[in-house]
């Protein structure tokens, strides 16, 4: 681990955003992860996305479980709220806090172990309930923090660094989220920020559950020649379905592409993702086709990345439950205890 703090000096041309903050203001403390860990690049991508979108740090909450990946919220957005929960339990913390205060932006950071192994049940319910959050899985196919055991996203037949062969099929979180009804499903690669940063921005702009599965090589335990989550392997097998550009609401769209080359998706808050199609004609609004497509590519050993599915109109948890516009944590005693007449009315409805 690095012993010195990152110097406060910045490049003289480093600008500030609409809030007067520079990218450096979105940083956290110095990372304690292994040098070269993919997770650090994801933190950098989150920092860049938040700075470029002028996200107000005090209106953001970072939630995580346990793992190298789950440690990373300490390394970005040091001026935001945060909760580092129990292994695999971040989804319940996210659900609870989101219910209590829907005004914050929630970013959950989890690992493949945290999400697909111990936390799979919790994950499934957060997706199903459409908790409004950006759910980031820093997927390295291993339990990095506990020194390299095979995780539930490790591919079958893959040999671990210590020589063990994985006898089990892997869980594909993208397919799972599609099946469970996620309204935003994307996959990125920690080694490609050009694609990753717009995906993060789009995820923040989306209302509802946004899964962002990010292949993030563990340089220490899962970047060897036989790994299917190494830098080299991912670069060789990356089946990029699209390269998104994100244009926030209020900004004019200036990039133009030939007709048929790109497709715009307007998100809930008015931001637009523009997808430059690199794969053959692909409709990110068709859940069944998306599932089919992803499965097909993965059977061939390829790794589909990009914005895989999005439904900008799907209702989120609060819409489904009909909660009031004022966040629940701001309701006073009068609203929370509407009196015995109101209680009697509710009770009679249930008789």
């Amino acid at each position: 681990m690095t012993h010195i703090a990152k110097p406060r000096f910045t490049h003289p041309l480093l600008g500030t955003n609409a809030l007067g903050l520079s990218r450096r203001d979105y940083e956290g403390s110095m990372s304690t992860l292994c040098a070269g860990c993919g997770h650090d690049s994801i933190s950098a991508a989150i920092i860049q996305a938040c700075a470029e979108m002028s996200m107000p740090p005090h209106m953001m909450a970072k939630l995580s479980g346990i793992g190298c990946s789950s440690k990373t919220p300490n390394y970005f957005l040091s001026k935001s709220h945060g909760f580092n929960s129990v292994h695999g339990r971040m989804p319940s913390i996210a659900t609870g806090s989101n219910l209590a205060n829907h005004e914050l932006y929630y970013v959950g950071v989890s690992g493949d172990g945290d999400t697909a192994s111990i936390g799979l049940g919790q994950f499934a319910h957060a997706v199903r309930r459409q908790v409004n959050m950006l759910y980031v899985v820093e997927n390295n196919g291993t339990y990095g923090l506990t020194k390299g055991q095979l995780s539930a996203t490790a591919d079958v037949g893959m040999r671990s660094k210590t020589g063990e062969i994985n006898p089990h099929d892997s869980i594909d979180l993208v397919s799972l989220a599609l099946q469970l009804g996620a309204s935003f499903v994307a996959r990125g690669f920690s080694g490609d920020k050009e694609q990753l940063v717009p995906l993060i921005k789009a995820g923040f702009s989306h209302r509802g559950f946004a899964l962002l599965d990010i292949i993030s090589p563990c340089v220490t335990f899962n970047n060897h020649a036989e790994s299917t989550k190494s830098f080299d392997y991912v670069r060789e097998h990356n089946a990029m379905m699209n390269r998104p550009d994100f244009v926030p609401r209020r900004e004019e769209i200036t990039v133009s592409y030939e007709a048929g080359e790109s497709r715009d998706v307007t998100l809930h808050d008015g931001g637009v993702v523009r997808l430059h199609k690199l794969a053959e004609d692909y409709d990110p609004a068709d859940r069944v086709a998306a599932l089919h497509h992803v499965q097909e590519l993965q059977t061939k050993g390829e790794i589909p990345t990009g914005l895989i599915y999005v439904d900008a109109k799907a209702p989120d948890l609060h819409a489904r439950m009909g909660t009031p516009p004022v966040p629940l944590n701001r309701l006073g005693e009068a609203e929370l205890c509407p009196g015995s007449a109101r209680l009697e009315a509710i009770n009679s409805r249930l008789r």
């Binding site: 490049h11 041309l13 990372s31 070269g36 650090d40």
Partner: protein, 633 residues
Amino acid sequence: MNPTDTANPDYYHRVVDCQWACPAHTPVPEYIRLIAARRYTDAYMVNWWSNVFPGILGRTCDRPCEPACRRDRIDDKPVAICRLKRVAADNRGDITPFLPRIPKEKNGRRIACVGAGPASLAVARDLMPLGYEVVVYDEADRAGGMMLSQIPAFRLPYEVLEDEVNYILDMGVEFRSNHYVGSLKSLLEHEDDYDAIFIGTGAPRGRELDIPGRQEAADHIHIGIDWLSSVAFEHTERIGRRVVVLGGGNTAMDCCRTARRLGGEQVDVVVRSGFDEMKASEWEIEEAMEEDIPIHNFLVPKEFLHEGGRLTGVRFDHVRREVDESGRRRLVPTGEERIFECDDVLVAIGQENAFPWIERDIGIEFGEWDMPVVDRVTFRTTHPKVFIGGDAAFGPENIIWAVAHAHEAAISIDRACRGEDLHDRPPDHVTLVSQKMGIHEWSYDNDIDHARRYIVPHADKEKALAERRMEVELGFDEDLGYKEAMRCLNCDVQTVFSESLCIECDACVDVCPTDCITFTENGEEADLRTRLMAPARNEEQALLVSDLLKTERVMVKDEDVCLHCGLCAERCPTSAWDMQKFLLDSAMAYEPEHGRGGGNGTGGERGNGHWQPPQRGLPPEAPSQPRQEHDHA
């Protein structure tokens, strides 16, 4: 762009902005680290070999290194490099054991140096250890040149000058004082059979101001540099109560401040053009103003006023600056006049060369402005035995340029005496050595200090003005010196990149505090400069470009504002980045057998000899590392 050729020593040398800017290429960060380690004697010797007069220069250098210092681009103010040099000089121990041994048996070659200024003295210093017999002539009674006759004692105490001049004279130089050389021809043909002659006679003539009244009031109108030397040699002890100083260069600043100390109560500096165009260094102007000397601008002197042979004042035309379409500036009279009443005038409007003692028929060609034609590489005139350097060569400069010329001239004299080709210059000594001591341990202090530049304490103004010789600047004490030294970024510890090891994980890009590093598609330089993490607008600063990487991209690092914090190397999982100390000792005629001092415990020290004092509070010696050493030939 093609991959950067880092095997060319110029590449990494340029990254060490201060050393590159220093005419003598003093290894600045090397001695600053030694100061931080309180190894002042070592720090002094690193300087002494390179710039010959560390104590003098630590007070008076023109410091071209400071505007070049990287810290200036990051933190507004450069490292106080010059004043740190003085810390090394003030706190050094006895250096005599570390001075070069002078051979008792001479090599049979005799060299004459005309003038005993820094240029001649440095030539003598470089040649004496090689066994040359050197004779130095000066018309003054002591050696030092303008460092003695011009630079006032309140900036440069005589003892400081004397110590450093004597290190050289004590090598056995024959100093012929009070000896004006009236004829180069006779020196060449008759006297003492010299194998080479070095001309280090400076630019001794002050420029005249020929306006009405000059003759009539001559007794109270003095040429600045003549007046300063008559003060230095104690022929002049007083000046009138009201003094006008004409000119805006460093000489004018020394004149006005000296006048304040010799009875001038109301001293005014008057310059022709704008305040912003004054030639004097910013700090010299500040110090003059601190001594209650007003500076008046846009005033062109027209007449010295006098009454019965006595000067009564100076009349000026007031002008304004006009810039025409082609950008040329002109001073246009506004029609207003101003009169400054005064008792004395000091004219400090420029300095000129004069070679009345060089015959024009002895093979020395004179060119433009009646200056000798000089080879800019070898410092030889058109006469095979006559060399020249310092202010005499290309007009008035400063001490550090005189020293830089002298090193080259000494190399040339030595080669000429050996019958070797003068244009075949010896290479600089270069090493590049990893500073890695452990996964996150470096043998230099990479924890960047955010402190702003410290201010040098000054003596009490009343006392300083009352005593001409009292040094105004007190210098940093050890504590402040240490603190200021910690501001240095160690720009000589280079970020060395090995593309074969890089896995393109982006860790260095993410961690770099100043956005120096980018992985991108290659392109032409102008295009690449716009496509980096931060645009690389400072074209003086190089881009380090790698060969093609696995993804067909290149790594581009903009050297401009790199803090040399080593975080890129710390966060690199494969050591594709390494921090390696680049040490360049520029070539000299004599290479000291025990190295040039220093060795800062960072590994890769040069021959630091048996005399190295014990190290205090330093990290242990580096473990054995694969060393990459080039001796660029």
